[in-house]
Symmetry: C2
């Protein structure tokens, strides 16, 4: 309300005020609308994903990968809304030490699958990249053909995180990709760290990629990985390598028979292939189809997925309980002292644990 | 004070009382003294153990095995006092599925060792016995000769406990046996459960006992156990079995070479033996001596023991944190609901974990 100064005779006057500006400027309104476009609602994201929109999918993955705690709730909303539409795929883990040709194999294998009408998503779990700064899949140019394929989606590994964090992000990215209609999920990992156990716990089929050689190449692979494998594929079986690759295949086949039978009822296979000549690539897919047919008929496929879900829930709880304990300021110093005392046989490991636990629970 | 009734003329009289009994009877005193003898002080126990007294050793083990919480402090006192005198032994884990002849092997091997002047303690980790009620080593008559040997000490497995509990007791029993002068500790386990990982984490040398056969006998052994083995010994290599045992030896030897090199620098060996003819028994001991010589010279032996101590401290903490969480009354119901929702893809495993953790830490 403007005061009408001219009507007053008093010395107490007020000059006419300037026009009050609009509280919300048109510029701001436009900016906010722009912002809303950049930050779509979780409903918009979900709708986009379900209609197969790749931009929505990428944005949702970025949201899931965000370390900003305020994004967590929205990410959970999107994931939970996508869950009923996910789960209809085959999830394939591929591991092998650097040098076995994982990228070229995935490129050839992925192209073969899109040729069959499949929609292929390629993800990676590589917590080591935080140290080496050399993320696998980081350089998309290593999959030149696949990256151009409209039925393929390649997402480099999330970096800067612990294994637990990377695993979580990958696990949720699978859900998003499946909801977006991808029916074949390939998860790449380097066979030298702990990440294989994590990947093994989120896939249906675990493929170990190898090359033939003097036996030394086997040394790089982490213990336990060979036992996880549903198939061992000897790559680079081309040119002069074919004979050696066949020998390696026989060797691995013999070794696999020494392992106990798998709960899945599946007997792990060995084969050779070449990412260059494409020999053996269709056989790998045939093996995976045989596997899913068998494990779906005996229900193992579905039971394992349920178990994997529960595993990730319990694993997350266990990790968080440990984090909470070991990051407790009073525990840290006491822990270092007790670790030393225990190593030097000054106190029993159990007595030391008791001291630490009493401190923690009395805090 | 006695009332002298005869001096009183009143009708109010009191009869003379009977002699008041001693508050503490001589019988009770004797019983208490006896009881004190039954419950020696921790100092008495430690002195007894250090002088090689088997009764003191057995009593201390019983104390360690007690589930009575009031015994815990005393048990910790005894263990901590024994620690500086322990640690001077070789600890051998022996595993194999039922039927490979573990008891007869340990009897023959143990007798061979006492013949060399060794003092041998035989323990067992067998949490499955709580279910099957068939404890390994429970029937000492299966080691008739060894049980009579004054340089051998056989302790059946503690039962009625979780793996964590059994492992702790075994771990502390090793300390007590070592302090009592036993220089060779053998820990038996059945190769079908989780107990192998526990045993592997408390021994220096891990021996996998097998028998020859059509390959089916391999199926019973748990995954990962073959990779843990420092030696695979094919038992029952006698009579008609010798040829088959040698074939099996060759087969396993080939398979072992497919595994990555061990951190210890040790290459796992394969051999055959017979607990009946005693062929190959000295070779097993020779292998273990070669192993300790190598790993002591490269310091792995001592480093591993330190790591094992720290492992048990951290493992105990992790177990206790989980126990505390999962036994929390409010968590239990919520957990069941979330497990179901997660299995049915109604909620993401991570969102479910978050709900549970928030409940727990806000309690």
């Amino acid at each position: 309300m403007k005061l009408k100064n001219q009507d007053k005779k008093s010395a107490l006057t007020e000059n006419q005020g300037i026009e009050r500006p609009e509280i919300i400027s048109a510029v701001s309104v436009e900016q906010i609308q722009q912002f809303r476009k950049i930050q779509p609602s979780s409903e918009e994201l979900v709708n986009g994903i379900l209609s197969g929109n790749i931009t929505a999918l990428s944005r949702a993955i970025t949201l899931v990968e965000s370390t900003n705690i305020s994004h967590l709730e929205k990410a959970n909303e999107v994931i939970n809304a996508c869950l009923p539409h996910a789960n209809k795929s085959v999830r394939i883990g591929i591991t092998g030490v650097p040098g076995v040709g994982k990228s070229t194999f995935i490129e050839a294998f992925g192209k073969y699958l899109t040729g069959l009408g499949k929609k292929v998503a390629v993800l990676a779990v590589d917590p080591s990249s935080t140290i080496s700064h050399g993320s696998i899949l980081g350089d998309k140019t290593r999959m030149e053909e696949l990256v151009k394929d409209k039925n393929a989606y390649i997402r480099p590994s999330a970096s800067g995180e612990t294994l637990g964090g990377v695993a979580r992000k990958t696990r949720e990215t699978i859900t998003l990709c499946e909801a977006a209609g991808f029916d074949t999920i390939i998860i790449e990992t380097v066979g030298v760290g702990q990440s294989e156990t994590a990947v093994h716990s989120m896939v249906d089929f675990f493929l170990l990629l190898k090359i033939s050689g003097a036996g030394d190449e086997l040394q790089g692979i982490k213990r336990g990985i060979m036992e996880m494998a549903d198939a061992i594929v000897i790559n680079k079986a081309d040119g002069d390598n074919v004979r050696k690759a066949n020998l390696a295949k026989t060797e691995f086949n013999r070794a696999l028979h020494l392992f106990p039978a798998k709960k899945s009822g599946w007997t792990p296979t060995t084969s050779t292939c070449s990412a260059i000549t494409h020999d053996g690539i269709p056989d790998v897919w045939k093996t995976i189809c045989d596997f899913t047919e068998l494990t779906k008929s005996n229900n193992y496929f579905f039971e394992k997925r349920k178990e994997q879900n529960q595993y990730w829930m319990l694993e997350t709880i266990n990790e968080q309980l440990k984090t909470n304990f070991f990051n407790h300021p009073e525990i840290y110093k006491l822990l270092e002292e007790n670790k030393k005392a225990v190593a030097n046989d000054e106190i029993s490991p159990f007595a030391a644990a008791q001291i630490l636990l009493e401190k923690y629970f009395k805090k």
